[in-house]
């Protein structure tokens, strides 16, 4: 049975109005009967809560109600077409981050640790306060897809520009535009050693990773020879270093370029093409069916987890039909039943941290005290040394539960400098059920009984009970998943 969620929703609307659950839930019930393990963890999960959890960094108080009011389809559409207006508080906080205001070359005057701090601060602030949550999720996705390790060479000083002009600018654009921007990004060229890729002695690093990790995926039909030929095409793609020029801008250096004829994936790139050689490579890679497959697979898995393959075929076709239009690829996935019904997806530490801040409407500067928790949980931003980005496998993260609990306690008890939760302002009234609803953005179900019971015990401890109550909600197993 294949129903788009749009169809599900229509079916739901046709059916009894007033029943809180729509078409998807009916499919879910059907699922639960036949494959108990494949469905959600037993217990009712509010559809809109799930939707908001899957598409954003987690609901803030009021988000689920607002999405309900808008209707699910309209909500998804609003996320797909972000305007450029940003929250004033966020703009104010971001304006203080020098690395995003200065020319990359000038940022060298700032100590590297400060640069890394500001980069992470920006990511945390935007994910926490950003109005356009789907774009923020896609920024997270593409940041890992085009991963750059900030601690290699001087990459940190170049990453802010990469973030702004590559990842953020094209997060919801087309994949070919994004790829092209990345290939011209000094941060990427430096990180993957293209600076040393010159005629006669090519450096294969970027050539290999652009095919293996950025576009086609490994074992998708290219050979070692293709890697070497692509490397030749990219010879001379370097970073400006000459005096009195725009230093650290992209530069094509004719002198370093191998101008011979090349053969890439069965296509001949004639001699004498100069910079056009690699531009052609980018076009070949962008249009390659293996790229459509690889990019689609990653996007589907990102939103649908283990059910990703159910939408893979359709997303691939959309990629090819729309020349890699990212919103066009996303739309069917985001309106699919699977988005709500697929098995739960583990929050990575960054997701977990931000979702906690959002659910408790925390005030944060995103600064080093908070970032320290990301280090301990295993996901300091821009610090995964390999070019493949942080792992998405659940098993990579389950070894570090304790740092999550420690973060939950520090947040709840107000021990993170620059980050605070105002328990007095939040609606919990010292009641366990309400504390659950605040943190989980839904009513407690039968499965949540133990948590509610423990939270009630904390509240019974007296004045300080809210700390333990909040801690247990954020540290609970159910808060680890989206």
């Amino acid at each position: 049975m294949k129903l788009s969620r749009r169809e599900c929703l229509e079916l739901g609307a046709l059916g009894a109005a007033g029943i809180a659950v729509g078409g998807c839930a009916r499919v879910a019930n059907h699922f639960a009967e036949h494959h108990r393990d494949a469905a959600l963890p037993a217990g009712e999960v509010d559809e809109t809560t799930r939707l908001v959890n899957r598409l954003t960094f987690g609901p803030r108080p009021g988000d689920v109600a607002a999405a309900k009011k808008l209707g699910q389809v309209a909500y998804v559409e609003s996320l797909l077409k972000p305007d450029d207006k940003e929250d004033l508080r966020l703009q104010f906080l971001l304006n203080r981050l020098d690395v995003f205001q200065m020319d990359p070359y000038e940022t060298q005057d700032i100590p590297e640790n400060e640069v890394m701090r500001q980069l992470q601060q920006s990511a945390i602030l935007r994910a926490t306060y950003g109005q356009h949550q789907l774009r923020e999720r896609m920024v997270d996705f593409w940041t890992n897809h085009f991963n750059i390790y900030g601690r290699k060479g001087l990459a940190a000083f170049r990453k802010a520009a990469d973030e702004t002009t590559v990842i953020r600018k094209h997060a919801l654009d087309t994949f070919p535009n994004l790829l092209k921007a990345s290939a011209h990004s000094p941060a990427m060229l430096i990180f993957l050693d293209n600076q040393g890729n010159v005629a006669g002695r090519p450096n294969e690093n970027y050539a290999r990773e652009i095919m293996e990790l950025h576009t086609m995926g490994v074992k998708s039909g290219y050979t070692q020879k293709d890697v070497q030929e692509v490397a030749r095409c990219f010879t001379g793609w370097v970073v400006e270093r000459r005096f009195l020029r725009h230093r650290w801008a992209f530069r094509f250096d004719e002198e370093l370029h191998d101008n011979g004829v090349k053969h890439v994936l069965g296509q001949t790139i004639p001699a004498g093409g100069g910079q056009k050689d690699a531009e052609t490579v980018l076009e070949i890679l962008s249009a390659h069916p293996a790229t459509a497959h690889f990019i689609s697979k990653k996007i589907c898995d990102y939103f649908l987890g283990t059910d990703g393959d159910k939408w893979l075929g359709r997303t691939e076709k959309t990629y090819l039909a729309t020349k890699g239009d990212i919103p066009a690829m996303l739309r069917p996935i985001l309106t699919s039943c699977e988005l709500i019904e697929s098995p739960q997806i583990l929050k990575r530490p960054f997701d977990y941290l931000v979702s906690a801040l959002r659910s408790l409407d925390a005030d944060t500067d995103g600064g080093s005290a908070l970032q320290e928790h990301l280090v301990k949980m295993g996901e300091p931003l821009y610090q995964w040394p390999m070019p493949d980005g942080y792992p998405t496998k659940t098993s990579a993260w389950t070894g570090s539960m304790l740092p999550r609990w420690n973060f939950a306690y520090a947040l709840s008890s107000g021990q993170i400098g620059g980050t605070g939760v105002d328990w007095g302002r939040l609606q919990h009234d010292g009641e366990a059920e309400k504390m659950f609803e605040l943190t989980h953005a839904r009513r407690a179900s039968a499965n949540d009984r133990e948590l509610v019971r423990k939270v009630a015990e904390e509240f019974n401890q007296g004045d300080d009970g809210v700390v333990g109550a909040g801690f247990l909600c954020i540290a609970s197993p159910s808060f680890q998943w989206r």
């Binding site: 494949a38 993957l192 450096n203 690093n205 070692q224 390999m386 197993p477």
Partner: protein, 422 residues
């Protein structure tokens, strides 16, 4: 008083895994058979050099003219080259191979027969992709492809499981668990032993741990299992005070991730908590650029590796006879240098074995040679020893694993002869 029942936890975990594995095909691969086996055995310490460590500039075949021909800028002066500063020359090991000078701290261990070297070894994975090659090696396969999804260490642990096992059978230092431990029970990743406790007021700690146990023991997914294991480990580590750990024999660990990881490994081993495997990583070996010869990225990495290993072996002293250290990487690097004073992805590299029954002072290599006709089609050193032969010998002789076919599926390891029995 809070005392999580160890058996209770194990039972939950066992139920969980079985229920879990039976129903989902991807996870079913993680289902592992368990059999009780006799102990004691060594503690296995694995150090994975991530990024593809250059075997040719680490354990240098300096007697090969083609080494110097292929690396005009990166090669290191031979031991007899009086024009070079003594500290910038290769340290001879056996007249053919020699150490990069940054590995000098390991020379005494080699000479005393405590360090064995394997060269021209690796997997059969020819993709030259870090991720494919690492996945192959960590899953214990010939090459990345079909096969069990779990890691080779996880399968080793499962095939030697006993009811009285420690909750902390294996530890990984770092924020994430490596793939070699994928599917392993009783395993945690930790950054630092001293930080490994619930950071709540001491008076509240037990209360909160009990509350968490209540929340996590009812669950039946990966997070619930992980939470249960973490709580059991907290209870175990409660018995030691890592901040007070003093290395023996004046051992001085470098203040690096690897140095700190090995120091904490030593602390855990000394504490007798039943630790069986420690998995450590050391990144930074992907030296496409600025690898250098005696000055450069590789030199700094080798310096850290040599000093850390030497400190660990010194610290462990005679207890090193119950520890086996294996150093490995996903692949070696191209024989010819590139234009950026670096090297691109290649094939064969090296492994180190220390402690336990390592038959040290020798270099095991079916040396394929560096002449152009001896290299593979891309210009890489050929793999003549399968990395699984080395690991299998360690598991069999030092870790008492009699069920190697469940660790290295569809593979019959060949004897290497580098490891003496317990």
């Amino acid at each position: 008083m809070w005392r999580p029942s160890r058996r209770g936890l194990l039972t939950t975990a066992a139920f969980g895994l079985a229920g879990w594995a039976g129903k989902n095909s991807a996870l079913a691969d993680l289902a592992i058979t368990t059999k009780g086996k006799e102990k004691p055995h060594d503690v296995l310490v694995t150090i994975f050099l991530r990024g593809g460590a250059d075997g040719l500039n680490s354990v240098v075949p300096y007697a090969e003219d083609d080494y110097y021909r292929n690396r005009p800028n990166l090669s290191i002066a031979p031991p007899s080259d009086k024009r070079a500063n003594a500290s910038a020359r290769i340290v001879d090991l056996n007249g053919f191979f020699g150490f990069h000078p940054a590995l000098t701290p390991l020379v005494p261990f080699y000479r005393e027969g405590k360090l064995a070297i394997v060269h021209a070894c690796g997997s059969q994975d020819g993709t030259r992709s870090h991720f494919q090659a690492m996945a192959a090696v960590e899953r214990g396969l010939a090459a990345e492809g079909p096969g069990p999804a779990s890691g080779w260490i996880a399968r080793h642990l499962a095939s030697t499981e006993r009811t009285e096992d420690s909750p902390l059978r294996a530890v990984a230092f770092g924020g994430t668990l490596p793939d070699s431990l994928r599917g392993a029970a009783n395993t945690v990743a930790l950054e630092s032993l001293t930080d490994f406790q619930l950071q709540a007021p001491e008076a509240k700690r037990k209360h909160y741990q009990e509350a968490l146990l209540g929340l996590y023991e009812t669950g039946n997914d990966e997070v619930a299992h992980a939470g249960q294991e973490t709580l059991a480990v907290l209870d175990t580590l409660h018995k030691i005070d890592p901040a007070q750990y003093k290395p023996s024999n004046q051992a001085k660990y470098p203040d690096t991730d690897l140095g700190r990881g090995l120091r904490q490994t030593a602390c855990l081993i000394r504490a007798n908590l039943g630790l069986e495997v420690a998995a450590l990583d050391r990144g930074g070996w992907d030296t496409h650029y600025a690898q250098g010869s005696t000055v450069g990225i590789l030199s700094l990495s080798l310096d850290d590796l040599g000093k850390s290993l030497a400190a660990f072996a010194t610290d462990m002293g005679t207890e090193m006879s119950h520890v086996t250290v294996v150093v490995m990487t996903e692949f070696g690097r191209r024989v010819a240098e590139n234009s950026g004073l670096g090297t691109d992805h290649g094939r064969a590299s090296f492994m180190f074995l220390m402690g336990g029954g390592a038959r040290g002072g020798q270099i095991h290599a079916h040396w394929p040679g560096l002449e152009s006709h001896q290299l593979d089609e891309t210009g890489d050193l050929r793999v003549t020893t399968d990395y699984r032969d080395v690991l299998a010998e360690v598991l069999k002789t030092r870790m008492r694993n009699e069920d190697l076919s469940s660790v290295f599926v569809n593979y019959t390891p060949k004897p290497v002869g580098l490891v003496a029995g317990i």
